[in-house]
């Protein structure tokens, strides 16, 4: 059975190029993390479009970029950058936060 399972997984993975070819010239936005806060803390993006978010952590400690609304979670190492793809999104508010410093690291992405 594990062979079947592996076969299914590899079949699904082989679909990857189709997913990539659908992504046409995405919008790119950068959000900084400084002193455990997001800058800007409010990001506006067009609805219905795929967006490439770059999270640039300028602190000396790691952070986890997380959003339940966007269904995303990703570690950002100290002084490093990560890419997070989101969307296409319906118009609305999508809060995100830094899991390691939730008291200060709060932000929101607004799709409109």
């Amino acid at each position: 059975m594990s062979y079947h399972c592996r076969f299914l997984m590899s079949m699904l993975l082989s679909l990857a190029p189709f997913g990539l070819s659908l992504a046409a010239a995405p919008l790119e936005l950068t959000v900084l993390i400084r002193e455990h806060r997001f800058e800007p803390a409010e990001v506006r993006v067009p609805a219905g479009q795929k967006v490439k978010l770059i999270i640039d952590n300028q602190d000396a400690s790691a952070e986890e970029f997380e959003s339940y609304e966007l269904n995303r979670e990703k570690i950002v190492g100290a002084n490093s950058r990560i890419t997070v793809w989101v969307g296409p999104l319906k118009a609305g508010r999508y809060p995100f936060f830094g899991e390691f410093h939730q008291d200060t690291a709060q932000g929101v992405l607004i799709a409109e």
Binding site: M1, S2, H4, C5, R6, L8, M9, L12, L13, L15, A16, F18, G19, L20, L22, A23, D59, A60, S61, A62, E63, E64, Y68, E69, N71, R72, E73, K74, I75, V76, G77, A78, S80, I82, T83, V84, W85, G87, P88, L89, K90, E99, F100, Q102, D103
Partner: protein
């Protein structure tokens, strides 16, 4: 300290739930405590290595190294769980009968304990690496060491208590149904992990989401809540799943179920009686 305790608790909880299911599924097996302990130890070592190489991992594969690692770790665990569930579908009844007759531990024989050992190690690795990164960060940020360690200890203890409670709850299931129940739990655990792996592959932009949000049940049951997070680990509950996650979930559940049915223990024939 409270923030540390909560974060550590959340991470420990997921690993603790998985470990308690593994402990239940290996009930009656001689030396399983040692196996599970080695799994935890290997997981902690792995977590430290992953945390130390976090930046290198994040930069790998054009910035999708983290997602690929997580998805690989999850899918490896799915295969191990599937293997064990199907093996137990064949041998669970014999084991339960042996345990009832003898009333004590049975030897594992060819039982795939190593598969479950790996599941434990991978669960600890995934959750543990986040704890290590978080605590490193606190240390680097000049936070109070006492607050850090006491928060960590409280979180670890609280997560452990929930795991132990689940384990003893499971032991209450009558032995006749016991391995069917743990096998069902393992099937759902594996399906949930497959869905979580799909989530990472979408996040890395490797696979299409097939619908970003098929439903939104966050108002009914948020994943942030204790119950939501517990169900997330146990049965793969997701308040806003993508289509591909549902596909992975269904394919995994159906594959394991079919495997269990195909390999299920049939009326004894001389061969299987001899090998039992």
């Amino acid at each position: 300290m409270l923030a540390t305790a909560i974060l550590v608790f959340r991470e420990v909880l997921e690993a603790a739930l998985i470990i308690s299911i593994v402990m239940a599924a290996t009930r009656g097996l001689r030396g399983r405590g040692r196996w599970v302990a080695s799994g935890i130890a290997a997981g902690i070592l792995g977590a430290i290595v992953v945390a130390l190489s976090a930046s290198a991992i994040a930069d790998a594969a054009e910035g999708t190294g983290q997602e690929l690692l997580n998805a690989t770790v999850l899918l490896a665990a799915v295969l191990m769980l599937a293997w064990h569930a199907i093996w137990m579908a064949r041998h669970g009844r014999e084991l339960a009968a042996q345990m009832q007759d003898v009333g004590r531990a049975v030897s594992g024989g060819s039982r795939p304990v190593t598969a479950l050992l790996l599941v434990v190690a991978l669960a600890v690795l995934r959750e543990g690496s986040e704890i290590v990164l978080f605590l490193f960060g606190m240390g680097a940020g000049g936070g109070s060491a006492l607050a850090m360690w006491s928060g960590g200890a409280v979180g670890l203890l609280a997560g452990g208590v929930v795991g132990v409670a689940l384990y003893f709850g499971l032991l209450g299931i009558p032995l006749r149904h016991f391995f069917n129940a743990t096998n069902g739990l393992i099937l759902l655990l594996a399906a949930g992990m497959a869905s979580h792996a799909a989530h990472y592959l979408i996040q890395a932009d490797l696979l299409p989401p097939l619908g970003n949000m098929i439903w939104d049940s966050s108002r009914l049951l948020s994943e942030q809540s204790l119950l939501g997070q517990t169900l997330h680990t146990l049965i793969g509950y997701d308040a806003r799943p993508a289509g591909l996650q549902l596909l992975f979930y269904a394919l995994t559940a159906i594959s394991i179920y079919t495997g269990m049915k195909l390999c299920a223990y049939r009326t004894p024939n001389p061969d299987s009686a001899a090998s039992a």
